[in-house]
């Protein structure tokens, strides 16, 4: 599902990620552990296509993120460590915005929003502005906005 081959990323003279290779299969839960500055976030940001890298390759479901970043981005969801979301939107507006961008049809999105909101106990708060959400609630709309459960399916 995610294959990283010889990833190297530098910031000026600092080598943030040095020749990293790994392969994560579908259904696998993979955790990154490392000291500060080890390159965990850099690797993740490169893998989701929001940061370029110097050398190596990253494949999402067999597609190179360098060659076709949009196709890769359609397959994955990214939740950063800081829950920075559009605070001016309500939870439901944010979910609909993401659904529009990912091209999720109306009926399907309604069903998914109902399902995930119930799972995250967010249903009653969907109309609230995200700025009113507690710190712990903020990643939830992010998680719920995953267009589909992560798996390798061609868009």
């Amino acid at each position: 599902m995610l294959r990283i081959e010889h990833l190297t990323k530098t910031f000026g003279e600092k080598v943030a990620v040095d020749d990293l290779s790994l392969h994560i299969a579908p259904g696998e839960i993979y955790g990154f552990i490392g000291h500060n500055g080890a390159g965990k976030t850099t690797t993740l940001r490169s893998a989701v296509g929001i940061q370029s890298f110097d050398s190596g390759e990253i494949y999402i479901c067999g597609t190179s993120i360098k060659a076709d970043p949009l196709a890769c981005k359609r397959q994955i969801a990214y939740i950063p460590d800081n829950p920075d979301l559009y605070e001016f939107m309500s939870g439901i507006k944010y979910l609909n915005f993401i659904a529009d961008v990912f091209g999720v049809p109306s009926d399907l999105r309604a069903a998914r929003i109902a399902d995930y909101a119930a799972r995250f106990e967010l249903t009653d708060d969907l109309a609230q502005p995200i700025s009113a959400y507690s710190h712990g609630m903020k990643p939830n709309p992010s998680s719920g906005s995953t267009p589909r459960p992560p798996s390798c399916s061609r868009a």
């Binding site: 940061q51 920075d84 559009y86 915005f97 659904a99 091209g103 009653d124």
Partner: protein, 532 residues
Amino acid sequence: MVKTLLKKQFAEIFRSYFYDTKKNKARSKAGTIACIALFVLIMAGFLGGTFGAMAFSLCSPLVAAGAGWLYFAIMGVIAILLGIFGSVFSTYSGLYLAKDNDLLLSMPIPTDKIMFARLLGVYLMGLMYAAVVIVPAVVVYLLTVPFSAAALIGCIVFILLLSVFVLTLSCLLGWVVAKLSLKLKNKSMVTVLISLVFIGLYYFGYFKAMDLIRDLIANVAVYGPTIREKAYGVYLFGSVGLGDPIAIAVCTAVVAAFFGLMWYLLGRSFLAVATATGASEKVKYTARREKQRSAATALLKKEFGRLTSSANYMLNCAMSTLLIPILAVLILIKGPVLVDTLNAVFGGTGGAVTVLFVTALCTASAMNDTAAAAVSLEGSNVWIAQSLPVEAWQVLRAKLRVQMILTMPALLLASVCAAVMLKAPVGETLALLALPQITALFFALLDLTLDLRHANLGWTNELAPIKQSMPVAVAVFGSFGYSIVLAGLYLLLTPPFGAAAYLWIFASVTAAAALLLYLWLRRKGGKLFMEL
């Protein structure tokens, strides 16, 4: 304890002189000195000079008419207004809604000590602004009247009482602003409307006050005794500056009583206001089927959502949307009179009136500059747009479209009104319709390009990208420069080929520049956005 808090308070107030928040590093010694020198120049040189000149014009006639108390009353009221204007928002943000309120309140520090340190900061801010008026006023007075100990003491007491009174009023108004802002959280449209009403009232009050002061000076013999009789408090307030012992005693007692009351009320409510979150009434969610939109529409809707969520953004970057239709109406009503005046001045230069109207419209169009802050306003949320499965250009185009939608239809309306009113030749009329549109497009592209190249995503207060950034400054001053060149070249050169050809040449040059910016944004802009 208080000393430590004061040190922190002063470091916070004067931080911008020593630390560049945009570059996130300490300023150089020269930079700090330049910042302080600029501030002193503006406060003491410009503002102090203006009020000093005003004091010179008021002092002699009023003192000669035996109404020195009226001089102090007038200057005192101006000082109070300026002091409050300067410190009320720092009271709001520094006393009631300071970011570190939670941190300090969680420490073993008595609440009244936190309050005292914060109040001292507010006092200094109020004193600084009030001093710009009252210090020149006092100096001018002491130079005008023969020196006496009573006058000197009166002036010193006047400054002290006035500054404490400003502090008291600032605390009261700061509390009102804090309460209002919590009530109006997520109600930015209401905030915009309230702000517009206040701006309107301010200008109305300003012009009325100037007339009133002129009238007072001209008829001081009539108004002086009347005010003294009907508003004795004002007379006493002004008499403090003259060193009148009774006025000093009464005013000191009144100011002390107000300050004591404020301290008591603040002590009771400080904790509640400082820790208020402004939680609004919960909105009930009702599930409903949402129509599926295209990604481009979703991005545009998101940009409009960002704009309408922020009163600051709307007031600073989108006011022309409201002002241009007003300009259109004014063109129809007052246009003919203005045309007569312009013809009288530039009668010899054919087509000058059309060129000047086009210039006015172009200037108005460039005052909308949402795109100059749109990229920076992504702030820490930029990862969302970057991780979406859309081309970066689509994100940028949505930002561009907001400015165009806000500006171009309103501008077309104003251009049509100007065309109807001017009844210029066909070539000039077409240029009148086209050039402002092309200019609006050019400035939208320029604003976006500048913000993309100089994006500030690390802001902690959204006013930094909205008001204090280089792209916004260039957007505003660049439009002035554009207008000066547009009108100035025509009036200086009076080209033999006429106004229509001149305007079309200018339109072509602007369109070519806009095309270059568009191509750069399409080819390089997206990549740059992804690397932010």
